[in-house]
């Protein structure tokens, strides 16, 4: 059985590699554009996927409402920016305040959602928590739709065109540059938070063994809340960045973005933070090439196919550890 898979894999890689090299040689600029576009896309996925993977690592729950938190971040930024813009504030101040408000409000929503919909279900069957999450997601979508509007709203970019980036702007816009740079910074900060701080240590301990962590004096509920807050903050940053990139938002954007990010998290091995980043980049870049060179209407099919293929070979994702089953 195994060698059939391997042969097929090698054959597909060979054909794709051959086609790929031919394309690269014939039009290197286009190739570079696609690569950078994919990197941007992957960065955004990574910012959202982190929240999924962190929450999953700690309470083994697919937080379906995470996409909505991201949407609320983008929405808040839009509202704050429009109000301040109308009052005639300086563009730089508006950008900073919009991001700050988006992050603060997303964190608050993430925190509240956890307290209402997940905390009472800590000891319930896992599927019940999942349905509760789905209900929360529906609720938040409709809440934003009713309170604001079901239409798409144009989002004026908060990021100016940088003067120093002018010579390279034809390959990659300033917004894309900002997205990649921001993602790298957020990743580094998050890495420091998890590796070196007290709360990061507590998070890792809780993810490994909740009961033992509680015995050692870690306030598990507080750690879980912190995880939701941190995850929501990265999602909000992702939300603002992608809204700047795409230029319009509505109440439903959270769903597809959340789904893609979740795929990325699973691809990398859910529960693992480097896995989420790697999975997001793999997904983003390969999607970008696929839509660039093949058919764009089958983009989502391709994303899911990659997922299925990778999971067939590595059932717990690229970086996920294969857990031995305890009896």
């Amino acid at each position: 059985m195994r060698w059939i898979y391997i042969t097929i894999g090698v054959a597909i890689t060979g054909v794709l590699g051959f086609l790929g090299i031919r394309e690269v040689v014939s039009d290197p600029v286009y190739f570079l554009e696609l690569l950078l576009g994919g990197l941007t896309r992957g960065s955004i996925y990574a910012l959202i996927a982190l929240g999924y993977t962190m929450v999953y690592g700690i309470i083994q729950l697919i937080n379906f409402a995470h996409g909505e938190i991201y949407m609320i971040g983008a929405m808040t930024a839009l509202i704050v920016a429009s109000v301040l813009g109308l009052w005639g504030w300086n563009a730089g101040v508006i950008a900073i305040l919009a991001v700050v408000f988006a992050v603060v409000y997303s964190c608050a929503y993430g925190f509240t959602v956890e307290k209402i919909a997940y905390k009472p279900l800590r000891n319930a069957p896992r599927l019940s928590a999942l349905i509760s999450a789905i209900g929360m997601s529906l609720f938040l979508q409709n809440y934003v739709m009713l309170a604001q509007t079901p239409e798409f709203m144009p989002f004026r970019s908060l990021i100016p065109d940088f003067a120093f980036w002018e010579p390279y702007a034809h390959i990659m816009s300033s917004v894309e540059l900002t997205i990649i740079v921001t993602t790298v910074i957020v990743m580094v900060l998050l890495g420091i938070l998890i590796k070196f701080t007290r709360i990061g240590k507590a998070m890792r301990a809780t993810a490994q063994d909740k009961v033992m962590a509680a015995l050692l004096g870690i306030n598990v509920n507080q750690v879980i809340s912190t995880t939701f807050v941190v995850g929501s903050a990265t999602a909000a940053i992702g939300g603002v960045l992608i809204a700047c990139h795409v230029g319009q938002i509505n109440f439903f954007i959270g769903f597809l973005a959340g789904l893609k990010a979740f795929i990325a998290a699973v691809l990398g091995g859910i529960g693992s933070i480097p896995g989420a980043v790697l999975g997001s980049l793999v997904l983003g870049i390969s999607e970008s090439f696929f839509t660039g060179y093949f058919w764009s209407e089958y983009e989502d099919v391709f994303a899911f196919s990659i997922l299925v293929i990778i999971l067939i070979f590595r059932p717990s994702g690229i970086l996920g550890k294969h857990e031995a089953q305890k009896v």
């Binding site: 509202i79 209402i116 099919v301 899911f304």
Partner: protein, 400 residues
């Protein structure tokens, strides 16, 4: 009871929510005309609403926690107790039968039509219950098989003029095959990995249907799908709705019978064992691959039968009827009804499908209410509305 401390807590929660909902509820921006409207009254009502909501919420949560402490784990839900009692069961079943028999003749066609879709969901729910409730495999792409059934009937009818009655067994077989085919590669996956891959399959099938124009007519869908024929007699529009209604009733009864028999069969017990402990189950000599595949395939069979009925009922299908939300709705039917319990799934389907239809009076708010209800049901009844009860044998003490 309500103490000063609790009122204080509720007050702070209300304040928190007022801050939380401020930008989205109070400020309404119109980005096209560049105007901003502040709706301060919302803030006030929201505060008052949250204050009372949080008081009730905490009160019930408190009740639930107290109840959990006193309750033993093996108490049987009231519905099951009533149904086991012969004095109650027989009149209840007769009343139910009479109700469903006269339903289409008493109520207008609109209500019959809604009832048909609710009953289709009963069928889908019972099918998914095999996969999720009994075998414990979280399938988020169940709608794929529903789609296969619907398109099988529509396309076979379009190209070869196959009738409803022939399409029913054909698509059942097709569903079975698809279930096995899609089930095979994901056998090694567990838990949430399985969920996301099945979700992927569901989306793949939908997107292919949407983009493969020559095969499925793309997003325009297929129209003029004929309703089932009744020995060649034209029943008219009203008559054919009633006819479909009774077909669905028959199919649902068949499903209930089959699933009930399966549950207590060797295979059904193997599913439950596999759900509870995979390793121990294999050690007892149960073939894991075969058991899982049959669960997938049988679940898929019911979904495709449901799809055929759906296509015949609406006479028009397009890929938008088979989005992932559909899978999620079916999953909600199973989990909210009570996983693994047939009565629960039936109750869940009737509540979840009929409720939004009758909530149309408050059309705008119905999905909001629906989402909130899902959360509330799960928080207060995490095992679903009607918990499943395994078949048990009770020994009565013999008086000596």
């Amino acid at each position: 009871m309500v103490t000063i401390k609790k009122i204080k807590q509720a007050f702070f929660i209300a304040l928190w929510f007022m801050v939380l909902t401020f930008p989205i509820m109070v400020i309404k921006v119109n980005t096209i005309t560049d105007t901003v409207v502040f709706r301060w009254s919302y803030l006030f009502w929201n505060g008052i609403g949250t204050f009372f909501a949080s008081l009730t919420w905490n009160y019930f949560l408190h009740l639930k926690e107290n109840k959990q402490k006193t309750e033993t784990s093996d108490d049987i839900p009231m519905v099951h107790q009533l149904l086991q009692n012969d004095r109650f069961r027989i009149p209840f079943l007769i009343a139910l039968a009479v109700f469903f028999l006269i339903y289409p003749f008493v109520f207008p066609m609109y209500h019959t039509s809604i009832m048909i879709s609710a009953l289709v969901y009963v069928m889908l729910g019972l099918g998914l219950n095999i996969v999720v409730g009994l075998a414990g495999l979280l399938d988020l792409g169940y709608v794929a098989f529903y789609c296969v059934g619907a398109y099988a009937y529509a396309l076979l009818n379009l190209h070869f003029g196959v009738s409803f009655w022939l399409a029913l067994p054909i698509s059942a077989v097709l569903g079975f095959m698809f279930g096995t085919l899609l089930g095979y590669p994901v056998l090694r996956l567990r838990g949430d990995y399985l969920a996301i891959v099945t979700l992927g399959f569901g989306e793949i099938i939908r997107i292919i249907m949407e983009n493969w124009d020559d095969f499925s007519n793309g997003p325009r869908g297929i129209s003029n799908i004929p309703p089932p024929n009744f020995f060649g007699i034209d029943l008219g529009q009203h008559g054919s709705v009633i006819y479909i209604y009774f077909i669905v009733i028959a199919l649902v009864l068949m499903t209930i019978f089959f699933v009930g028999r399966l549950e207590n069969s060797r295979l059904g017990r193997a599913w439950i064992a596999l759900r509870d402990d995979e390793v121990a189950c294999q050690a007892m000599g149960i073939d894991k691959v075969k058991t899982k595949l049959t669960a997938f395939a049988l679940g898929a069979t019911w979904a495709s039968i449901g799809g055929v009925v759906f296509a015949a009922k609406t006479s028009y299908i397009n890929p938008m009827s088979f989005t992932i939300w559909e899978s999620i709705t079916i999953l909600c039917v199973v989990v909210i009804g009570g996983m693994g319990s047939a009565i629960g799934v039936i109750a869940g389907a009737l509540v979840l499908i009929l409720l939004p239809e009758y909530l149309r009076a408050v059309a705008e708010y119905r999905m909001l209410v629906f989402g909130a209800l899902q959360v509330i049901v799960m928080v207060f009844k995490p095992d679903g509305l009607i918990k499943s009860v395994r078949k048990t044998y009770k020994f009565k003490k013999v008086e000596e």
